[in-house]
């Protein structure tokens, strides 16, 4: 059951007025332009025990993604495909109102949107995750841990998942007849992802449309729209969020602003991932 949240981040009225007044002048309280994305930093291999990992900072939003590989049997209807599982945890240490316990509806929604972007874009190559067709496959567990919340977790989660998958190298396999030996200590050059995907979130506050909202902007936003893109500009996922509604021209404008922000993110990813 989904209940209107009662523990939402409260922004003082004065601050809200300030944010709106600044937006009227075409600037944001953190000094950005309306269509400007925050500074991004990525640290690959941050968690050494994972097969691949990445720490992503988007402003002060910090998320850590780790990839673990497990040997499993394939599903009967997809003998030539491995498996991908995305999980997002909103840790209580990340923000005052985040509570311990199993993933709530927000965490589940985040995980499912990231999962769909990776899957539907065919960025993650499930056929590379096969050890013996019909017998043994890899399940790639992508666990995304939100460590500090400063708005726009979704974009950071997609970035961290993509970066962690690029940081993942499949272990070496030796096949002798019916037997397979998996040598976890030795890595191949095979990575489970074909090309990058990014998610860009735009928010509507009053009559203004901004990209990559920070925590205060997100807390007073009426509605958000997140769009996932591939490098060639295909739309590979979309999710509207919050209780507001959008005019059709808002949707149009958000798609345009998000598509150009996506280009910025791909340029950044290029620097960190040697694409």
């Amino acid at each position: 059951m989904s209940v209107t949240p009662s523990n939402q981040n409260i922004v003082p009225f004065v601050k809200k007025e300030n944010i709106l007044a600044a937006l009227d002048r075409g600037v944001r309280i953190d000094g950005r332009k309306l269509n400007e994305y925050r500074k991004l930093s990525i640290t690959l291999g941050y968690a050494k025990k994972a097969e691949g990992s990445a720490l992503v900072k988007l402003g002060d939003t910090t998320v850590l993604a780790g990839v673990k590989l497990e040997e499993e049997e394939p599903f009967p209807d997809t003998p030539n495909q491995g498996n991908l599982v995305v999980n997002v945890e909103l840790l209580p240490l990340a923000y005052e109102t985040f509570e311990p316990g199993p993933p709530d509806e927000n965490a589940i929604e985040l995980a499912r949107v990231v999962d769909r972007s990776l899957r539907d874009s065919k960025a993650v190559d499930l056929s590379k995750l096969v050890i013996i067709p019909g017998k043994k496959i890899w399940t790639a567990w992508v666990d995304v841990y939100v460590l500090n919340y400063d708005g726009n977790i979704l974009d950071a989660c997609t970035l961290a998942s993509v970066a962690a998958l690029y940081n993942t190298k499949l272990p070496k396999i030796e096949v002798e007849g019916e037997n397979v030996r998996i040598i976890r200590e030795e890595k191949t050059d095979i990575i489970p992802i074909n090309y990058p995907v990014v998610t860009v979130t735009a928010a509507k506050i009053g009559n203004h449309i901004i990209v990559d909202p920070n925590i205060d902007e997100e807390s007073i936003a009426d509605v958000k729209l997140s769009i996932s893109y591939t490098r060639d500009g295909r739309i590979v996922g979309m999710q509207k969020n919050f209780s507001g509604s959008l005019a059709l021209q808002d949707v149009d404008m958000m798609e345009n602003i998000s598509r150009s922000a996506a280009q910025y993110l791909f340029e950044e990813l290029k620097k960190y991932l040697n694409l």
Partner: protein, 243 residues
């Protein structure tokens, strides 16, 4: 080893697997006030997809500390009955149902005038009785009709339809094979007379041009559904029912 092949979705004659044209919707049936106990209820059918929705409230929120001082809370559950699908669905709420309950709640919050009922809660329950593609939108529409049936003030009814891409062609109101094998699925729900989008999701793969074309096609479908919804509401009050 069982490996299912993708079937052709658009046939030689340009029609879809169920005989519809690409821009043709499935037949719709709406029935209001179907449950005795609920304050409002509706059954919404679209082709073989059938959803029952019921509304209770506004009523006092318990526990009290969860109540909102300035508006009503919405408590929303989207649920699939175990017998609504080909293979039995475990009745425990899945991650999908948890996500859809949230998405539907947010869509309903864009139309319910919650600020008229501070400190209260409005319960909205949806049970999918038959699942055959498009359950989230049929559920949302059933819920909006049940809210109207309960006399809860709304900005507008919600009408929604999925558009998608099947064998490269933009199609309206996906059927199950298109949902499963098609290249894209984009559910769109609007407050039609206000021209506002209340729900928008996309999974699959579309170019920005296809996305805009899809949005336009969805709007066409939404306007047709909106008229059927208004007819159903009018009919309820035009008809004399022996109690």
């Amino acid at each position: 080893m069982m490996q299912v092949q993708k079937p052709r979705l658009i046939l030689e004659n340009g029609l879809r697997t169920d005989g519809r044209r690409p821009d043709e919707m499935r037949p719709i049936k709406i029935e209001l006030g179907v449950l005795k106990n609920a304050d409002g209820s509706a059954i919404f059918e679209m082709g073989n997809t059938k959803v029952l929705a019921a509304v209770y409230g506004p009523k006092e929120m318990h526990p009290r500390h969860l109540a909102l001082p300035d508006r009503a809370s919405l408590r929303v559950r989207y649920h699939m009955t175990p017998f609504s699908t080909d293979e039995r669905k475990n009745p425990a709420p899945s991650r999908r149902e948890i996500e859809l309950s949230k998405v539907i709640r947010e869509a309903l919050e864009s139309t319910v005038l919650t600020e008229l009922f501070p400190r209260t809660v409005i319960d909205v329950f949806m049970e999918v009785l038959q699942a055959d593609a498009g359950t989230r939108l049929v559920s949302l529409m059933a819920a909006s009709m049940a809210l109207a049936d309960a006399g809860i003030p709304l900005r507008d009814l919600i009408a929604g339809v999925a558009v998608g891409k099947a064998d490269g062609i933009i199609v309206l109101d996906l059927n199950e094979p298109e949902d499963m094998w098609g290249e894209a699925d984009m559910p769109v729900a609007m407050l039609p007379s206000l021209g506002q989008v209340a729900l928008l999701q996309l999974n699959g793969d579309m170019t920005p041009e296809e996305f805009r074309k899809g949005l336009e096609l969805a709007q066409k479908g939404i306007n047709i559904i909106y008229n059927l919804q208004k007819d159903a509401l009018r009919k309820k009050y035009a008809e004399y029912k022996e109690e």
